[in-house]
Amino acid sequence: MDMKVSKKLGLKERYTMMTRDLAWDTTFQPMDKVFPQVGYEGIKIHDWNAWEDPFRLTMDAYWKYQAEKERKLYAILDAFNQNNGHLSVTDARYINVLKLFLGSTPPLELMAARGFSMVARQMVGAGPRVACMMQSVDEYRHFQTQIHSISNYNRFYNGLDEFAHQQSRMWYLSDGKSFFDDAITAGPFEFMVAIGFAFEYVLTNILFVPFISGAAYNGDMAAMTVGFSAQSDEARHMTLGLECIKFMLEQDPDNLPIVQRWIDKWTWRGTRKLASVGMMMDYMLPKRIMSFKEAWEIYFEQNGTALFTDLARYGVKVPKCFDQTIEEKEHITHQSWIGFYMKPDATPFHTWMPQPEELDWLSEKYPNTFDTYYRPVYEHWIAQEKAGKRFNNKTQPMNCQVCVSTIKFNEPGDPMEMCFRETVYKGEKFHFCSDHCREIFEDEPEKYVQTFISSHAALQGKCEPEGTDVNAHDYRPGARMHAYWRMDKRASGDFNGSEDQKNFAKWRAQATQN
């Protein structure tokens, strides 16, 4: 009997049949009533069928590969935990980078999952809807795997257990929260530029590539597997963001000024958010593998230049902030660590002064700035600490109305001067960290007057633990911030003398002796 073997469909045909061919146009209601959000931002789309996801990933293949990634990830996580892996990290200071990274990122992943499920509903074309749905599921996966990764550390170390409560309340978590709040309250196309382009292309390339590569060489297999597994999805996410930008630019020339404004805005917001990621690389990994400056040059300057050179054919210009970010790469990580070190009572992770060989590493990596501007600050503080006067700034920080970073970065062109901007809107004064943030505010003031800044709101009596009587005669605003934050006191203060430091030394000794 002759068997007729039908040829397997090619990737392109399979993708077309499994996505676009399964979609339909509504007939009971007009399409623009069913999908109203795509019209709100002024973006003009004439042909949704022109969108094609370059990965051409169909849903069945998606589940297959994601399941395989999960199996690998959890095999490594289990092995790490079974092997007492937490004691094999370089030194106990390392745990603090996890408190910052894994304490701030999961809630942002969850916001991304929500955002992409919204955009998957709002987009008209089948291609972007399927890709957004996959990304939503990816982000939910990252949220879960990161929490699973923390949970083992949480059994041993302080300060990891209240990240969900602290997300909306803690001063230094507000920049990430505001990034996602801003994106998710924009329209679907701006959301795609904010997350698909700025967050994935600018930020995760630094956070999940050189930082995670560093985590691997600090002995943290758990963070490494979670980070690399997440980043394997990000390659797809970046492609989606880039595809969306190209699609808007190809559909109508009127889209260019809108897209350019979003690129300018979100590149800057991504850059601001990166200051603390860079600080993690330069100050918190005991074993360093690459400076933030080097990572920035590879993943933003070179890679960003490649992208913007390519997009120039559509008329896109390099983001306005590009030159300023190049100047700032020499400064922001040092300014961030100084900012955190000076507030030992206000973070659920420890800070410390760099050791002598670490100061030398920083001098070598930052020859233009470190010895001139930052080493003298550290040497002064090291002397103070030795004299029993560890520096402790007990005041509330002042935050930027747009990016909600603490106002601490330098004036462009003058590293000795702090950059500070303000504007008056409807009789009220608002404060900014930079010209770029002020411009973002002035474009949409009604949006940004609503920013919640806990360090400012606390002084108005709005950040108090339950049961506080703000009308009591002895009430002092902000006096009970620790209770409001649910801060574990054991997790704050200098690393030297901390419970984590003592426990780690004791447990590591137990692991190598009888």
């Binding site: 590969y65 797809r236 490649a306 992208l307």
Partner: protein, 90 residues
């Protein structure tokens, strides 16, 4: 100056073969070893050919398996059953 297209993978036995295939098919490829990962830069256009990867691995290979090991990419992507291409317009 031509921009680099690049791809980075987790370092493991499978990606060792994939990187060897890239080096064979892209004479201008520069391999950058980093802790736990490997990055390959190629000016302008980087192509991964299924047939070459299969030869290196000694088994059938579906280009979508790249998803399992990918860390990051740079360049416009085009993917078919036989080739995975990243490119920048100069």
């Amino acid at each position: 100056m031509t921009s680099n297209a690049f791809i980075a993978f987790q370092k493991n036995e499978e990606t060792r073969c994939i990187v060897e295939a890239i080096v064979d098919d892209n004479p201008a490829a520069v391999v950058v070893d980093q802790p736990a990962m490997v990055k390959v830069d190629v000016p302008g256009r980087l192509v991964i050919k299924r047939a070459t990867v299969e030869e290196k691995m000694g088994r059938d290979f579906d280009l979508q398996e790249l998803q399992l090991h990918l860390i990051t990419i740079s360049g416009h992507l085009d993917e078919s059953d036989d080739e995975f291409t990243l490119s920048w317009e100069a």
